[in-house]
């Protein structure tokens, strides 16, 4: 997986209680499907991002399990209701178990 940090956008870092917050996040990853071949005709080994999860504090709020039909540099957008403040923690893991993490702090207005 890339060494560049994830790019994350949060619609509102100071939402009212219960407000719907939108998150957009993207990482750099080739999402190698295993179907492509290199110049010598040998298949490139498969390695895709297999799991993304987002937690707010201790609560799991969103899970994404991409397949090989997901585009490279996977982009994900989701929403949730801000029931409490806390840290929004996002984690990516690929099939070689390389992980990336991003954090955003939410405080209720």
């Amino acid at each position: 997986m890339s060494v560049k940090p994830p790019r994350v956008w949060v619609s509102n870092a100071k939402p009212a209680r219960g407000e719907i917050v939108r998150v957009r996040a993207q990482i750099e990853h080739a999402m190698e499907s295993g179907l492509r071949v290199d110049g010598d005709g040998k298949p490139r080994p498969r390695n895709i991002v297999r799991r993304f999860e987002a937690r707010l504090g201790a609560n799991l709020i969103f899970v994404w399990e991409p397949g090989i039909s997901i585009a490279q540099n996977p982009y994900i957008e989701f929403t949730f209701a801000a029931r409490e403040g806390g840290e929004l923690v996002m984690q990516w893991a690929d099939e070689k178990d390389v992980t990336l993490e991003a954090r955003k702090t939410l405080t209720l207005a």
């Binding site: 492509r36 969103f62 991409p66 209701a81």
Partner: protein, 157 residues
């Protein structure tokens, strides 16, 4: 050769050769590793739906009708039913019917999420239908589909 002769020649060639060639190619151009997998598509659909009766309401699927970049086609899904702590969306899948691996991705939500909306970008190997299926906490299964025309030759995955 003078330019106008060249251009005229090109037009003549275009009408005579390129159009039928392109038509013939569109059938045979898909390499074997990118062939659709209808068995897996049916299985993924059946596994998700189970014994529920799929309902064609309450789930919104937004995909462009014409995808100009088949290697990153934006797809947006959202459950439009009113959600509560008792009624929430448990999981949602997106399927690309003609892709070699039809199950594009799975989203999971929890009672804590408070909404059921997600967007991602797909690779599409050819012009096809994209399906979305959502399972609600009360066991209802919602379905939506949209045909997508893929520009150029499709994505090599």
């Amino acid at each position: 050769m003078k330019r106008r002769h060249f251009v005229a020649g090109g037009v003549a060639l275009g009408t005579a050769l390129v159009v039928p060639a392109a038509r013939a190619q569109s059938k045979a151009a898909i390499p074997p590793q990118l062939a659709p997998n209808p068995a897996e598509f049916k299985k993924a659909m059946a596994d998700f739906v189970g014994r529920a009766k799929p309902l064609e309401t309450g789930l919104k699927l937004e995909v462009p009708v014409l995808a100009d970049n088949p290697s990153a086609v934006p797809v947006h899904v959202s459950v439009t039913l009113p959600l509560s702590d008792q009624l929430y969306c448990k999981e949602l899948i997106v399927l690309a019917e003609q892709n070699p691996s039809p199950l594009a991705c799975r989203f999971q939500f929890t009672p804590f999420t408070g909404s059921a909306e997600a967007a991602a970008r797909l690779r599409l190997s050819q012009t096809q239908a994209v399906h979305a299926l959502a399972r609600m906490s009360d066991g209802r299964v919602l379905v939506a589909r949209q045909n997508v025309t893929v520009a150029a030759s499709g994505c090599g995955m």
